[in-house]
Protein backbone atom coordinates (compact mmCIF):
# COMPACT_ATOMS: atom_id res chain seq x y z
CA UNK A 1 0.00 0.00 0.00
CA UNK A 2 1.41 3.33 -1.00
CA UNK A 3 0.56 6.68 0.43
CA UNK A 4 0.43 10.26 -0.76
CA UNK A 5 2.53 13.04 0.70
CA UNK A 6 2.19 16.80 0.44
CA UNK A 7 5.17 19.04 1.04
CA UNK A 8 4.96 22.79 1.40
CA UNK A 9 4.40 25.74 3.66
CA UNK A 10 1.74 25.37 6.30
CA UNK A 11 -0.77 27.84 4.88
CA UNK A 12 -0.78 26.19 1.47
CA UNK A 13 -1.19 22.59 2.41
CA UNK A 14 -2.86 22.12 5.79
CA UNK A 15 -6.17 21.48 4.07
CA UNK A 16 -4.82 18.29 2.54
CA UNK A 17 -4.47 16.81 6.00
CA UNK A 18 -8.25 16.68 6.27
CA UNK A 19 -8.36 14.59 3.09
CA UNK A 20 -6.09 11.97 4.57
CA UNK A 21 -2.92 12.87 2.73
CA UNK A 22 0.25 13.02 4.79
CA UNK A 23 1.31 16.65 5.07
CA UNK A 24 4.81 17.79 5.85
CA UNK A 25 5.25 21.43 6.71
CA UNK A 26 8.35 23.32 5.73
CA UNK A 27 8.54 26.72 7.32
CA UNK A 28 10.07 29.78 5.74
CA UNK A 29 13.85 29.59 5.68
CA UNK A 30 14.00 25.93 6.59
CA UNK A 31 16.03 23.65 4.38
CA UNK A 32 13.53 21.29 2.72
CA UNK A 33 16.11 18.91 1.30
CA UNK A 34 16.45 16.37 4.16
CA UNK A 35 12.71 15.97 4.54
CA UNK A 36 12.28 15.66 0.78
CA UNK A 37 14.96 12.98 0.63
CA UNK A 38 13.31 11.10 3.46
CA UNK A 39 9.97 11.20 1.62
CA UNK A 40 11.42 9.90 -1.62
CA UNK A 41 12.86 6.93 0.21
CA UNK A 42 9.65 6.04 2.03
CA UNK A 43 6.48 4.43 0.74
CA UNK A 44 5.10 7.42 -1.09
CA UNK A 45 3.92 6.89 -4.64
CA UNK A 46 2.96 10.51 -5.17
CA UNK A 47 4.52 13.57 -3.59
CA UNK A 48 2.80 16.87 -4.15
CA UNK A 49 5.02 19.86 -3.64
CA UNK A 50 4.24 23.55 -3.76
CA UNK A 51 5.74 25.45 -6.66
CA UNK A 52 7.62 27.76 -4.32
CA UNK A 53 9.36 24.85 -2.67
CA UNK A 54 9.86 23.05 -5.96
CA UNK A 55 11.93 25.93 -7.27
CA UNK A 56 14.28 25.48 -4.29
CA UNK A 57 14.48 21.74 -4.83
CA UNK A 58 14.63 21.82 -8.65
CA UNK A 59 17.83 19.77 -8.86
CA UNK A 60 16.57 17.08 -6.52
CA UNK A 61 13.25 16.84 -8.33
CA UNK A 62 14.93 16.54 -11.69
CA UNK A 63 16.60 13.34 -10.48
CA UNK A 64 13.23 11.69 -10.07
CA UNK A 65 11.53 12.89 -13.22
CA UNK A 66 12.60 9.86 -15.24
CA UNK A 67 12.26 7.23 -12.56
CA UNK A 68 9.00 5.32 -12.38
CA UNK A 69 8.39 6.17 -8.74
CA UNK A 70 7.68 8.40 -6.89
CA UNK A 71 5.76 10.89 -9.01
CA UNK A 72 6.58 14.41 -7.91
CA UNK A 73 3.84 16.81 -8.87
CA UNK A 74 3.91 20.55 -8.40
CA UNK A 75 0.83 22.32 -7.14
CA UNK A 76 0.21 26.03 -6.72
CA UNK A 77 0.47 27.30 -3.16
CA UNK A 78 -1.66 29.82 -1.35
CA UNK A 79 0.60 32.61 -2.62
CA UNK A 80 -0.58 32.14 -6.16
CA UNK A 81 0.23 30.21 -9.27
CA UNK A 82 3.72 30.74 -10.61
CA UNK A 83 3.08 28.64 -13.71
CA UNK A 84 6.07 26.48 -12.98
CA UNK A 85 4.06 23.26 -13.05
CA UNK A 86 2.82 24.04 -16.52
CA UNK A 87 6.31 25.04 -17.59
CA UNK A 88 7.52 21.57 -16.65
CA UNK A 89 4.88 19.94 -18.81
CA UNK A 90 6.00 22.21 -21.60
CA UNK A 91 9.58 21.14 -21.02
CA UNK A 92 8.74 17.48 -21.42
CA UNK A 93 6.98 18.27 -24.70
CA UNK A 94 10.07 20.07 -25.89
CA UNK A 95 12.20 17.15 -24.86
CA UNK A 96 10.07 14.65 -26.73
CA UNK A 97 9.09 16.57 -29.82
CA UNK A 98 12.02 18.93 -30.18
CA UNK A 99 9.90 22.04 -30.13
CA UNK A 100 6.81 23.12 -28.32
CA UNK A 101 3.71 22.32 -30.33
CA UNK A 102 1.09 22.22 -27.58
CA UNK A 103 1.46 25.44 -25.63
CA UNK A 104 2.22 27.95 -28.32
CA UNK A 105 -1.32 29.25 -28.60
Amino acid sequence: MYRVAVLGDKESIYGFAALGLDVFFVSQGEDPEPIFKKLTQSDYAVIYITEQLASVLADEIAKFSYKPSPAIIQIPGVWGNTGKGMADVKKSVEKAVGSDIIFND
Binding site: Y2, R3, V4, A18, A45, Y48, P68, V89, K95
Partner: protein, 215 residues
Protein backbone atom coordinates in the same frame (compact mmCIF):
# COMPACT_ATOMS: atom_id res chain seq x y z
CA UNK B 1 32.93 7.52 -44.79
CA UNK B 2 34.97 4.40 -44.27
CA UNK B 3 37.08 5.77 -41.49
CA UNK B 4 37.86 2.43 -39.93
CA UNK B 5 40.23 -0.05 -41.51
CA UNK B 6 38.23 -2.99 -42.85
CA UNK B 7 39.60 -6.27 -44.11
CA UNK B 8 38.67 -6.67 -47.75
CA UNK B 9 37.74 -10.32 -47.47
CA UNK B 10 34.70 -12.23 -48.56
CA UNK B 11 33.95 -13.24 -44.99
CA UNK B 12 33.95 -9.65 -43.84
CA UNK B 13 31.68 -8.76 -46.73
CA UNK B 14 29.11 -11.39 -45.72
CA UNK B 15 29.29 -10.20 -42.12
CA UNK B 16 28.74 -6.58 -43.11
CA UNK B 17 25.85 -7.47 -45.37
CA UNK B 18 24.14 -9.28 -42.50
CA UNK B 19 24.83 -6.31 -40.25
CA UNK B 20 23.28 -3.94 -42.77
CA UNK B 21 20.16 -6.10 -43.02
CA UNK B 22 19.79 -6.11 -39.23
CA UNK B 23 20.41 -2.39 -38.98
CA UNK B 24 17.83 -1.62 -41.65
CA UNK B 25 15.23 -3.82 -39.99
CA UNK B 26 16.00 -2.33 -36.59
CA UNK B 27 15.79 1.16 -38.00
CA UNK B 28 12.37 0.51 -39.44
CA UNK B 29 11.09 -1.00 -36.19
CA UNK B 30 12.49 1.80 -34.05
CA UNK B 31 11.04 4.38 -36.38
CA UNK B 32 7.62 2.78 -36.05
CA UNK B 33 8.02 2.71 -32.29
CA UNK B 34 8.97 6.37 -32.23
CA UNK B 35 5.98 7.38 -34.34
CA UNK B 36 3.52 5.44 -32.23
CA UNK B 37 5.05 6.69 -28.98
CA UNK B 38 4.83 10.23 -30.26
CA UNK B 39 1.17 9.83 -31.15
CA UNK B 40 0.33 8.46 -27.72
CA UNK B 41 2.49 11.07 -26.03
CA UNK B 42 0.69 13.92 -27.75
CA UNK B 43 -2.69 12.58 -26.62
CA UNK B 44 -1.34 12.13 -23.12
CA UNK B 45 0.23 15.56 -22.92
CA UNK B 46 -2.98 17.24 -24.08
CA UNK B 47 -4.79 15.44 -21.28
CA UNK B 48 -2.04 16.47 -18.90
CA UNK B 49 -2.48 20.10 -19.84
CA UNK B 50 -6.23 19.95 -19.42
CA UNK B 51 -5.99 18.21 -16.05
CA UNK B 52 -3.34 20.58 -14.79
CA UNK B 53 -5.44 23.59 -15.70
CA UNK B 54 -8.39 22.07 -13.89
CA UNK B 55 -6.40 21.10 -10.81
CA UNK B 56 -4.63 24.42 -10.54
CA UNK B 57 -7.93 26.24 -10.79
CA UNK B 58 -9.50 23.93 -8.22
CA UNK B 59 -6.66 24.32 -5.78
CA UNK B 60 -6.58 28.08 -6.01
CA UNK B 61 -10.33 28.11 -5.40
CA UNK B 62 -9.94 25.83 -2.40
CA UNK B 63 -7.14 28.04 -1.15
CA UNK B 64 -9.45 31.02 -1.32
CA UNK B 65 -11.93 29.12 0.82
CA UNK B 66 -9.21 28.22 3.27
CA UNK B 67 -8.18 31.84 3.56
CA UNK B 68 -11.79 32.71 4.30
CA UNK B 69 -11.97 29.98 6.89
CA UNK B 70 -8.78 31.05 8.56
CA UNK B 71 -10.07 34.60 8.70
CA UNK B 72 -13.10 33.58 10.71
CA UNK B 73 -11.31 31.19 13.02
CA UNK B 74 -8.30 31.42 15.28
CA UNK B 75 -5.26 29.65 13.99
CA UNK B 76 -5.20 27.44 17.09
CA UNK B 77 -8.69 26.09 16.54
CA UNK B 78 -7.90 25.66 12.84
CA UNK B 79 -4.81 23.61 13.61
CA UNK B 80 -6.73 21.59 16.17
CA UNK B 81 -9.47 20.86 13.66
CA UNK B 82 -6.95 19.62 11.13
CA UNK B 83 -4.80 17.68 13.55
CA UNK B 84 -6.54 14.34 13.57
CA UNK B 85 -7.68 13.39 10.11
CA UNK B 86 -10.38 10.79 9.84
CA UNK B 87 -10.02 10.17 6.18
CA UNK B 88 -7.04 8.29 4.80
CA UNK B 89 -5.99 7.78 1.23
CA UNK B 90 -4.13 4.71 0.08
CA UNK B 91 -2.86 4.13 -3.38
CA UNK B 92 -2.56 0.85 -5.12
CA UNK B 93 0.15 1.23 -7.74
CA UNK B 94 -0.12 -0.88 -10.83
CA UNK B 95 1.64 -0.37 -14.09
CA UNK B 96 0.55 -0.13 -17.67
CA UNK B 97 2.72 -0.80 -20.65
CA UNK B 98 2.58 1.81 -23.40
CA UNK B 99 4.95 0.80 -26.20
CA UNK B 100 7.40 -0.80 -23.74
CA UNK B 101 7.28 2.16 -21.37
CA UNK B 102 6.02 1.15 -17.96
CA UNK B 103 3.77 3.92 -16.73
CA UNK B 104 2.19 3.91 -13.27
CA UNK B 105 -1.49 3.43 -12.70
CA UNK B 106 -2.95 4.48 -9.39
CA UNK B 107 -5.99 3.03 -7.78
CA UNK B 108 -7.35 5.14 -4.99
CA UNK B 109 -8.67 3.63 -1.78
CA UNK B 110 -10.32 5.72 0.88
CA UNK B 111 -10.71 4.65 4.44
CA UNK B 112 -14.15 6.22 4.63
CA UNK B 113 -15.74 6.08 1.21
CA UNK B 114 -18.64 8.35 2.09
CA UNK B 115 -17.67 11.92 1.28
CA UNK B 116 -20.09 13.34 3.83
CA UNK B 117 -18.38 11.41 6.55
CA UNK B 118 -14.91 12.78 5.99
CA UNK B 119 -14.96 15.85 8.22
CA UNK B 120 -12.56 15.22 11.02
CA UNK B 121 -13.66 17.98 13.35
CA UNK B 122 -16.68 18.88 15.37
CA UNK B 123 -18.97 21.51 13.94
CA UNK B 124 -19.20 23.53 17.14
CA UNK B 125 -15.87 25.35 17.00
CA UNK B 126 -15.32 25.63 13.29
CA UNK B 127 -16.77 27.95 10.73
CA UNK B 128 -18.78 26.72 7.79
CA UNK B 129 -16.18 28.20 5.46
CA UNK B 130 -13.90 25.42 6.55
CA UNK B 131 -16.45 22.82 5.45
CA UNK B 132 -16.64 24.47 2.05
CA UNK B 133 -12.89 24.59 1.82
CA UNK B 134 -12.40 20.95 2.73
CA UNK B 135 -15.13 19.70 0.44
CA UNK B 136 -13.87 21.81 -2.48
CA UNK B 137 -10.45 20.32 -1.96
CA UNK B 138 -11.80 16.79 -1.70
CA UNK B 139 -13.62 17.25 -5.00
CA UNK B 140 -10.37 18.04 -6.74
CA UNK B 141 -8.46 15.13 -5.19
CA UNK B 142 -9.35 12.42 -7.76
CA UNK B 143 -8.26 14.78 -10.51
CA UNK B 144 -5.04 15.51 -8.64
CA UNK B 145 -4.20 11.82 -8.49
CA UNK B 146 -5.10 11.38 -12.12
CA UNK B 147 -2.83 14.33 -12.88
CA UNK B 148 -0.01 12.62 -11.00
CA UNK B 149 -0.51 9.51 -13.08
CA UNK B 150 -0.68 11.34 -16.38
CA UNK B 151 2.16 13.72 -15.67
CA UNK B 152 4.47 10.91 -14.61
CA UNK B 153 3.52 8.97 -17.75
CA UNK B 154 4.32 12.02 -19.86
CA UNK B 155 7.73 12.41 -18.27
CA UNK B 156 8.58 8.75 -18.73
CA UNK B 157 7.34 8.72 -22.31
CA UNK B 158 9.22 11.90 -23.16
CA UNK B 159 12.39 10.25 -21.95
CA UNK B 160 11.73 7.12 -23.97
CA UNK B 161 10.89 9.12 -27.10
CA UNK B 162 14.15 11.00 -26.81
CA UNK B 163 16.10 7.77 -26.44
CA UNK B 164 14.33 6.14 -29.36
CA UNK B 165 14.84 9.19 -31.52
CA UNK B 166 18.55 9.14 -30.80
CA UNK B 167 18.74 5.48 -31.71
CA UNK B 168 16.84 6.04 -34.95
CA UNK B 169 19.11 8.92 -35.88
CA UNK B 170 22.26 7.00 -35.00
CA UNK B 171 21.17 4.12 -37.19
CA UNK B 172 19.96 6.32 -40.02
CA UNK B 173 22.84 8.77 -40.22
CA UNK B 174 25.84 6.86 -38.89
CA UNK B 175 25.52 3.12 -38.76
CA UNK B 176 23.72 2.40 -42.04
CA UNK B 177 25.76 4.78 -44.27
CA UNK B 178 28.98 3.57 -42.70
CA UNK B 179 28.15 -0.07 -43.29
CA UNK B 180 27.08 0.67 -46.83
CA UNK B 181 30.33 2.49 -47.50
CA UNK B 182 32.31 -0.39 -46.07
CA UNK B 183 30.44 -2.90 -48.19
CA UNK B 184 31.12 -0.82 -51.25
CA UNK B 185 34.79 -0.53 -50.34
CA UNK B 186 35.15 -4.28 -49.90
CA UNK B 187 33.32 -5.22 -53.06
CA UNK B 188 35.38 -2.73 -55.06
CA UNK B 189 38.55 -4.11 -53.54
CA UNK B 190 37.50 -7.69 -54.29
CA UNK B 191 36.64 -6.80 -57.88
CA UNK B 192 39.96 -5.05 -58.23
CA UNK B 193 41.77 -8.11 -56.89
CA UNK B 194 39.91 -10.29 -59.33
CA UNK B 195 40.85 -8.08 -62.25
CA UNK B 196 44.46 -8.06 -61.07
CA UNK B 197 44.53 -11.85 -60.98
CA UNK B 198 42.93 -12.03 -64.43
CA UNK B 199 45.53 -9.73 -65.94
CA UNK B 200 48.34 -11.52 -64.22
CA UNK B 201 47.12 -14.87 -65.54
CA UNK B 202 46.85 -13.48 -69.07
CA UNK B 203 50.32 -12.06 -68.77
CA UNK B 204 51.71 -15.34 -67.50
CA UNK B 205 49.97 -17.20 -70.32
CA UNK B 206 51.54 -14.85 -72.83
CA UNK B 207 54.98 -15.38 -71.31
CA UNK B 208 54.56 -19.15 -71.28
CA UNK B 209 53.38 -19.23 -74.89
CA UNK B 210 56.29 -17.08 -75.91
CA UNK B 211 58.72 -19.41 -74.20
CA UNK B 212 57.20 -22.57 -75.68
CA UNK B 213 56.51 -21.55 -79.25
CA UNK B 214 58.48 -18.41 -79.71
CA UNK B 215 55.51 -16.14 -80.55
Amino acid sequence: MATKQVNPTRMELTRLKKKLATATKGHKLLKDKRDELMRQFLDMVKLNKKLREKVEKGISEANKNFVLASASMTSESLSAAMLSPKQEVYLEVGSKNIMSVDVPKYEINYRTPNTNDMFCYGLAFTSCDLDDAVSSLSKILPDMLRLAEVEKSCQLMADEIEKTRRRVNALEHVMIPETKANIKFISMKLDENERATQTRLMKVKDMMLKEAHGY
